[in-house]
Amino acid sequence: MAVTIVFLGPLRDVAGTASREAAAPLDWAGLLATVGPEVADQLRDDRVNVACAGRVLSDKQSLRAMDGDEVALLPPVSGG
């Protein structure tokens, strides 16, 4: 099976897709390698968060997504 990577907000435009599959397990290095250099650059920005299985990681470099997990890449938000 696989991990689903979801690109939110402007990252969707950078990635050119709303989501992509990757092989499980997926760690931080694997994520950076999978998403392409442009998205990887933005992921290194402190203001970009990563959620795994519905929880925002306090340390995104500790990512360890398992089979069936959804990994969301969350750029700076703007609501209201």
């Binding site: 979801v6 939110l8 907000g9 402007p10 435009d13 959620a51 519905g54 925002v56 959804e70 969301a72 969350l74 750029p75 700076p76 938000v77 703007s78 609501g79 209201g80």
Partner: protein, 148 residues
């Protein structure tokens, strides 16, 4: 009375606020904020996207924080998602309390966090294309007022 919602269709803030007030008998004051899509130059629409597994849960946590921090009787927090036209409401926050201080501060607090600390992304359609909108520096500064 607590009412936290994500809505994917137009809504009437006046009607929500009116029934929210009625649902909090004995209140001393209600403060409400309604944000709308500004009818600016060539902006034809705004789109709010979100991340379903986090967004509503995050709004519930924000409501918890407001109840912990302010002396509140009730809190209404409604946020639109999807494509929204000029003049349509995006967000509505209303707080009921015995005294005005709690009600006004709770609305201010919730709006500051919805602007720059909730899981929404906003883009506007101009005549040429869609443009993503990041929070303004003011929005980050406003939110930092609440850090203890």
């Amino acid at each position: 009375m607590r009412d936290i919602r994500l809505l994917d269709a137009p809504f009437d803030p006046s009607a929500l606020i009116r029934s929210f007030g009625a649902a909090n008998p004995g209140l001393g004051g209600v403060c409400s904020f309604v944000g709308e899509v500004r009818g600016e130059q060539d902006v034809t629409a705004l789109e709010l996207s979100h991340y379903e597994p986090l967004t509503l849960a995050g709004m519930e946590q924000l409501a918890d924080a407001a109840f912990d921090r302010f002396d509140l009787m009730g809190l209404l927090m409604v946020h639109r998602i999807g494509v929204i036209g000029p003049g349509e409401p995006i967000v509505c926050v209303s707080a009921a309390a015995l005294h005005r201080r709690g009600a006004i501060d709770a609305v201010d607090f919730c709006m500051d966090h919805l602007k720059s600390a909730a899981w929404f992304w906003k883009r506007e359609q101009r005549s040429d294309a869609w443009h993503w909108i990041e929070p303004r520096a003011d929005d980050y500064a406003d939110r930092s007022r609440w850090e203890k």
